[in-house]
Amino acid sequence: MDESRAARLVETALLCYPARWRRRHGDEAAELAALLIRDGTPASSIAGSYLAGAAREWLTPRPGRRLSMAVGALLVAAASLGVSAGLLPATVPARAAVTSQHHAPAQCQPGSPEPGPDVTPALAHLRVISWETGHGRSC
């Protein structure tokens, strides 16, 4: 995966966090992702870890946050990342023939399309171990 595409995937995952979290950690999280990608960690793993973190962040009860708002945000987040990941296999062959491409980054906005059936294999590559409350699991 080229650098800009990897960065876009991670940026999309970071957009799935609540604004409060992004104001606090957003810049540092993007820099951390860049360092991990430089070290050889797959961007899809990093994006998957951030997406799982965003889900936990939305599901953590906070004063004034409604459950429906959290569920809606998670659905939009999953759809957005699914679209980003789904674009990857489709664009790889095209890169050989086209010298420059531009894809607008998928945003965590209401109305993002649902992930298609080809999304699952791309997401199946997520490998970073994610630990939550003592239970090891792969996300």
Partner: protein
Amino acid sequence: MAVTGRDDRAGQDVLRRVGEASVLILISLADGPKHGYALIQDIKELAGVELGPGTLYGALDRLERLGLIEPLPADDRRHPYRITAPGAAALRVHLESLERVSAAGRLRLQLGGI
């Protein structure tokens, strides 16, 4: 119901339910402040565990809410964290608890002849 000595010790162990990632972060911070990337590298070296960045930030927020760590002034875009006095005390209690369980496990393996 009477509280036994064992239950009392367990009750003091606030790290019992925070998850292993949080414990590893506290252990990593025990020898000095670190920012996110340094924490991931140190924990990988220390325990052979590669924490995902999403897991890292979730654990950092949880530990900060519990008052066990605190952020230091940002160094460029990086925010170093340091362990607080209550964090160090909680880590000590938790490690002692792990040592007791570990010793009991070794003893039982020995007694069982396995």
